[in-house]
């Protein structure tokens, strides 16, 4: 059990249905964990359960060989979450939103402008988030991932409904993150091609 992130016998029920049972995996820096399955297969529930948003029926998740249950804050500091609902206040500007989020983390990056330029949204930074398109809001979410110094990126369907340019941007960023020794858990319903070790969990 020397992997950075391990899961042991995860089981989850949703109402009466058993979504997954006795599921285990191990993930190390530089690796991607892909949760694959069609809609309703439980992959979103699984990734949410790993992030701590849903309570598991049974099973344990370990970070650095310690149960996450006992070090919730440490684990949360190491992860950054990206879901369909981007989680920005529509009334605030891009910059205000990101600055608020970095106040909740100690070790964020300080080169906000560079990151925004890289993602091609620097010219939008003073606009309220409500006036950005869905694609642009996704990029702000990517900015959040880059701004945090988190090791573990958790992404729920990051490339769904994106055009080719958007998809390649996401995959480029993911590759760079993995190259830096980061870890990624991704829920997706299509195949992901990447030059890094990929563990796949298929959910029915």
């Amino acid at each position: 059990m020397t992997a950075k992130l391990t899961a042991d016998s995860l089981t989850l029920f949703r109402g009466e249905r058993c979504l997954f049972e006795n599921l285990s995996f191990a993930l190390n820096p530089g690796e991607l964990l892909l949760l694959e399955g069609c809609n309703g297969s439980g992959k979103t529930s699984l990734i949410r359960a790993i992030a701590g948003l849903i309570e598991l029926e049974s099973g344990e998740i370990y970070w650095d060989e310690q149960p996450v249950r006992r070090q919730r804050q440490v684990f949360n500091n190491e992860l950054v979450w990206m879901a369909h609902r981007v989680g920005f206040k529509a009334d605030l500007s891009l910059v205000e939103n990101l600055r608020f989020e970095s106040a909740l983390r100690r070790d964020s990056r300080h080169d906000l402008d560079d990151i925004l330029t890289r993602l091609n949204i620097n010219r939008l930074k003073r606009l309220p988030v409500r006036s950005l398109s869905a694609g642009q809001q996704r990029r702000v979410a990517l900015a959040r991932m880059l701004m945090s110094a988190a090791t573990l990126w958790m992404m729920d369907e990051p490339v769904t409904n994106l055009d080719r340019e958007g998809r390649s941007l996401v995959m480029t960023l993911v590759s760079e993150h993995l190259a830096r020794g980061g870890m990624v858990i991704m829920a997706a319903h299509q195949d992901i091609q990447i030059d890094f070790p990929v563990h796949t969990i298929q959910l029915q």
Binding site: V74, N76, N77, A83, R85, F88, K89, D91, L92, L104
Partner: protein, 232 residues
């Protein structure tokens, strides 16, 4: 929070960041703040009209009416406390944040009280005049409302956290909070009545203060637990 984790973001900093953000958001939408305040003023003004201008009746009913109006105004403002965060996903981001959720919840409640509770305290003496309240009693009124609205903000946040995202959550929120708010209403209104009668008010004030301390220390954890459950 422990010594060997130097990178943990401070509790206080996280709490203040949330409070500042919410205050800024409230400033951008003043309607949300003003609505409950107008409601408070309206209820307090409607009562003398309905009850009649008899001086004794007004003086007698003043403390109770103002307190009930304050309670209802706070309920009105609590409805939407977590709704926008729940819908746009920022609540979820708070759930995965390294700052403990209890601290973030307390930050939100502080901002809520500053925008919904404190204005009531400030406006109350003006309304007290329509009930022929003497100045000395107004001081006690403000003090009881100050302590009471703090407790109500927290107590109500628990209810708001439990009902966010539920169908007909509004009515349910009132049903959940009003029984729990009973002691506050009793002690708040009656202490002001005692002041009007010239009696000792220390007992009532101490109770309100003690209750506020109890709630401030326990409610954030209940709010955090409720938010986690509601977001699932």
């Amino acid at each position: 929070m422990t010594d060997n984790q130097p990178e943990m973001p401070g509790l206080g900093r996280g709490m203040m960041a949330v409070a500042k953000r919410d205050l800024f958001l409230a400033w951008k939408r003043p309607g949300d703040v003003l609505n409950p305040l107008f409601f408070f003023a309206m209820v307090a003004t409607l009562f003398p009209l309905a009850v009649g201008p008899s001086a004794e009746q007004l003086e007698f009913s003043g403390p109770g009416v103002l307190w009930v109006a304050a309670l209802l105004a706070m309920l009105l403002s609590l409805n939407s406390l977590f709704v926008s965060d729940f819908e746009d996903g920022s609540l979820e981001q708070m759930l995965v944040s390294p700052v403990p959720l209890a601290a973030l919840s307390l930050g939100k409640t502080i901002a809520h009280w500053l925008t919904s509770g404190l204005p009531l305290v400030i406006v109350a003496p003006i309304l007290g005049m329509t009930f022929r309240m003497p100045a000395s009693v107004m001081g006690v009124l403000m003090l009881t409302l100050l302590l009471g609205t703090i407790s109500l903000s927290l107590l109500g946040s628990i209810g708001a956290a439990l009902t966010v995202g539920l169908h007909r959550g509004t009515a349910l929120l009132s049903l959940l909070i009003l029984p729990l708010a009973m002691p506050l209403l009793i002690f708040g209104a009656r202490t002001v009545s005692l002041a009007a009668a010239g009696d000792v008010v220390a007992g009532g004030l101490y109770f309100l203060a003690a209750y506020a301390v109890l709630i401030v220390s326990l409610a954030p954890f209940a709010i955090a637990a409720a938010l986690r459950i509601s977001n699932e």
